[in-house]
Every structure is written in structure tokens, then in C-alpha cells.
Amino acid sequence: MLSVEYLSKSFGGVAAIRDVTLEFPTGSLTAVIGPNGAGKTTFFNLISGAIVPDDGRVLLDGTDLVGMSHTEIVHRGVARAFQVASIFPTLTVAETLDAAVQAHRGHAGVLGRRFPLAECQERSREVMDMLGLADEADTLSANLSHGDQKLLDIALALILQPRVLLLDEPTAGMGPEERWQMIDKVYRLWEREKMTVIFIEHDMDIVFKIAGSIRVLCYGRVLAEGTAEQIRGNPDVIAAYLGTETRGH
């Protein structure tokens, strides 16, 4: 199980995450929602070790991850995809994934052989197929559609064979149809891989449809948590969302 206890982080005077305590059971699919600037991305940054909390703990099956480098946290099984797809523009999809597999297996510095390493290609193929990127294998990442760039970002996280997968707005910047396709892929991935998936999402229809449970952040605090039904009827959540209302991408 992944849990955070009393997690806090401020930037200068701005408290981005305040005293957050949450649990994410192993194998669960959870949505994290909240208005812009609520601290959602910061929350992922803290879990993945990109930034260090001022206070609190991040526990993965009892081990505190705070203070570990993000590389170490990756090796313990926490991987993430980014709000803005973080990819390698001059590499093709296949090259990106082959290079990622070799890096994950500790072959990043191999000089005596030619790229790609045959023993790494099976895994990168597998991930490509999983996300439906195989047709784009030889496309330069920079030339991929926006949606495929987001998929490639997720593919990079999957290469790491995570136990916990953090997806920061997988549907950001997509049209309605593309959005559902993406979320469908995420859902099937979760079903098949049996890993803990936490995703940030602004579209309430999507959240209520697929997330088994939901956590609401607002001004860095936990505003509510529970099932779709519980959140839908929660007056605090309604107030928070009526106040700011969803940004309509």
C-alpha cells in the first residue's frame, strides 16, 4: 500500500501541500481532483521524489521514501507520467522505448555493442502494443500527435515496471473523443497490470465513470475522499467546484 502521512510543502510563502494524510490501497484506481493550483502536481512531485517535503512521510509498503533520490524511488516501483508530455523529440518511438528499457536494466553506459540491444526490444514492443503505439514505432517523437505524445510518456513510465503508476492529467489538452480513448487505455492497463494507479483529472464525467475512489485537494488540503457517490453529493466539493468551476481546456 502507498500512503502519505502529514505531508507538507511550501514554496516561499505559498503552502502548496498542507498536512495531507491519504492512503492508496495496492491495486486500486484512484482519481485525484481539485481546482487549478490545488497542489495536485506538487503531491506527485513529493511522492516521486522530484522534490523533498518540508514535513511528513511517504510510505510504500511500510518503507519511507522521503529523502531517497528519484532514481532510487523509481527502482522501488514508483513511476510517473507528466502533465506536459516529457519525451525525447529527436528519437523515434521505438528508439525512445528501447533506450528506456536499456536504461532501466542498467545498460545505459554500454559502449561495446550497437543500439538497440536485442534483449531489450521484446519489452519495448510489449509496451508499445499495450498502448497501441506500434504503428508509430518509427515516427519521430516530435512529430507524434499530442495524444500519442502523452501515450509515449505513459509508455516510458510503464517500461519501469512500476507497482505504483502516477499519471498527471493523462487527458490534458485533448478533445472529448480522444479523451475517452485515452482513459479507456488507462483503465484497461490498470485492469490487466494489477498495479496501483493514481491519476489527476479535471473532467468530472471521466472521474465519476472510472475511478473506484476519489481524493479531492483544495488549497493544498484534503477536502474530501470517498467513492464517486460520496464525492458527487459532498457539499464542500460542490462549493469548491462551483467557486472556480472546471477549466474547460
Partner: protein, 324 residues
């Protein structure tokens, strides 16, 4: 097939054969001199492009390793009487050690700081060469010629044989560097260039990869320096001056940084420009500057970048690959 090692070896063999035959078909001292200088500088430029083009590490001080190579080889030959192959190997070790030291301090730094710190180290080395007169001969350079005792029946004192040796070193060096950029390491380097933060998230130790790249590039620049010192039978402080690094940047900008052979082609262009322009005008710096401006503003990239781009665009409307 496109990344096949066998194909590269074949091309290397053909090019080497052609280079060796060239002076037989067209015996000219000027040609021989041109190719030897070209070999030294092409190795230097290509090694710089390992850093700039493949690693996104823009070094302003790469000339220092050309200088280290030339001086350590020259000094070893003058002072120890080692056989040439031994001095060659020792020079590689010395260059690698210097690159390791400088790299360990520099490669952690971000872009502009990296560029300027490498430049600072180069200035330091240049000053050291100027000031340490008893060892280096100061601004006179290593005088008195570099002894070139024959080994394995090879006499590098003979310009013809030196020509062949330079061609062999050029082709072997390019093949090795080609192998490096097509290795798993080479692709990790591209990942760091494209997106270092994400590369870190994949578990890569970025510092180590950059440092290894820096040392490898330093060694090949040093080999270029060795060829140059054999050619001029000496070593001069200019080899380690910042203008050397500047020329390296010119060569890769002229030839292109997205193709492996771009820097080699840039070297040939710069040497030709140098020779022709100096023949017709005294304002040779001015002319070179104008030509480089033309490239920068007209093509907005090196000649091979331009050609490859053009070729791809005419072949397929949506180019799927670019350069490396």
C-alpha cells in the same frame, strides 16, 4: 541495416583505400599536406560534435585536448626516446586523465556555465604552456623538431608514410566514434541532450554518462593533436588557444551537427576556404566571418543538416526521422 556495423566498416575500408590511392593518381605535396592537416582537424571537430551534437554539451574549451595531445606526444618523443606507438598510447592516457579531471569539475554545470568553465580551463592551460618555458619552450613552441624513429618498418619522417598513417588514424578514429554514437551509450547521450530530467527518471546516472562522453571526446581530440604535431614536427601554443576551440565550433557549424560526417565536411570546407581566401585577400578573417554569417543566416544550419533535411522533405512530405 542503416545502423549496421558491417556497413560502416565497409565504407571505412573503401574510403581508406581511396585516400591511400589518391596521391598515387595525383602526386602533389599540397594534396598530401592538405589531407594530413584535414585528418587532424576532422578528428578534432568530430570529437567536439560528440559533445555538442550528440550530448548537447557545448564546450568552448575543447581545443585544450588538441593541445594536450600535441604537447604530450611531442614532449615524450623529445625527452624520453620512447618508440612512437608507446608515446601514442601514453599520450592517450595523459589526455584521458586531463579530460577526466576537467570533466569531473565541468560536466555538472548547466549550459553556459559549462561552456565558460571549459573555456577557463583552456585559458589556464594556454597560460601554463606560455609560462613554463623550460618545459614547453613558451610562446616559441616545442622547437628543434620531434624525432620520429622508425617502428615496425614504418618511417613517419617520410611524408608519404605519415600521410598513410594519418589516413589510417582518421578512418579508425571516425569508425570508433561512429560506433560510440551508435552504441547504447550513444543513445543515452541523445536522451540526455533531448530531456535530461526525464532521463534521470529512467534511472540513468547523468553525470557519469556525460563524464565518459567528455573523456572520450578529449581522447579523440588528443589524437588529432598527435597527428598535427607529427605534421609540423613540433607543437605551438596556438594548438591550445581558444581560437582552436573556435575553429572547432566553426567546422561543426559549417558542416552540420545532426549528421555524423557533418564535422568532417565542415573541416574540409574550412580548410579550403582558408587556403583559397588567403590566396586572394589579406582580409581573410573578414571573408571567413562573412561566409560563416552567410551559413548562419542563409541556411540557419550546417551544410549537411540542410541537405539531409532537404532530401527528407522531397522524399516524404512528413519526415519521420531527422539526423541521428
Amino acid at each position: 541495416m542503416r545502423r549496421s556495423a558491417v556497413r560502416d566498416l565497409l565504407i571505412g575500408a573503401v574510403v581508406l583505400a581511396a585516400l591511400v590511392l589518391l596521391p598515387v593518381l595525383w602526386p602533389s605535396k599540397a594534396l598530401i599536406d592538405f589531407v594530413i592537416r584535414g585528418a587532424a582537424l576532422a578528428l578534432f571537430a568530430t570529437s567536439l560534435n560528440l559533445l555538442v551534437g550528440y550530448g548537447g554539451l557545448v564546450s568552448f574549451g575543447h581545443g585544450m585536448f588538441f593541445g594536450v595531445g600535441a604537447y604530450s606526444f611531442g614532449l615524450l618523443m623529445q625527452r624520453t626516446g620512447m618508440p612512437i606507438p608507446v608515446a601514442f598510447v601514453v599520450t592517450i592516457v595523459v589526455t584521458a586523465a586531463v579530460a577526466l579531471l576537467v570533466g569531473a569539475i565541468c560536466v555538472r554545470l548547466k549550459e553556459i556555465y559549462f561552456a565558460f568553465l571549459t573555456l577557463a580551463f583552456q585559458m589556464f592551460l594556454h597560460s601554463l604552456i606560455i609560462l613554463w618555458v623550460p618545459l614547453t619552450g613558451g610562446d616559441q613552441g616545442l622547437l628543434g623538431g620531434i624525432p620520429r624513429p622508425p617502428f615496425f618498418g614504418i618511417d613517419l619522417g617520410d611524408q608519404r608514410q605519415l600521410y598513410i598513417a594519418a589516413c589510417v588514424l582518421l578512418v579508425a578514429g571516425l569508425l570508433l566514434m561512429r560506433h560510440i554514437v551508435e552504441s547504447p551509450f550513444g543513445f543515452t547521450l541523445r536522451m540526455i541532450r533531448d530531456n535530461a530530467a526525464r532521463t534521470g527518471f529512467l534511472g540513468v546516472e547523468i553525470f557519469r554518462i556525460k563524464l565518459v562522453a567528455f573523456v572520450l571526446a578529449g581522447v579523440f581530440a588528443g589524437i588529432g593533436g598527435v597527428i598535427m604535431s607529427l605534421f609540423v614536427s613540433g607543437a605551438y601554443p596556438e594548438f591550445a588557444y581558444w581560437t582552436m576551440s573556435g575553429e572547432g565550433i566553426f567546422m561543426i557549424m559549417l558542416g552540420g551537427i545532426t549528421t555524423f560526417l557533418g564535422p568532417t565536411i565542415g573541416t574540409v570546407i574550412l580548410l579550403l576556404l582558408n587556403d583559397f581566401v588567403t590566396r586572394f585577400t589579406e582580409h581573410h578573417g573578414l571573408m571567413l566571418g562573412a561566409i560563416i554569417l552567410l551559413f548562419a543566416l542563409g541556411l540557419r544550419r550546417g551544410i549537411t543538416d540542410f541537405l539531409v533535411d532537404h532530401w527528407r522533405r522531397t522524399r516524404t512530405p512528413a519526415a519521420t526521422r531527422r539526423g541521428h
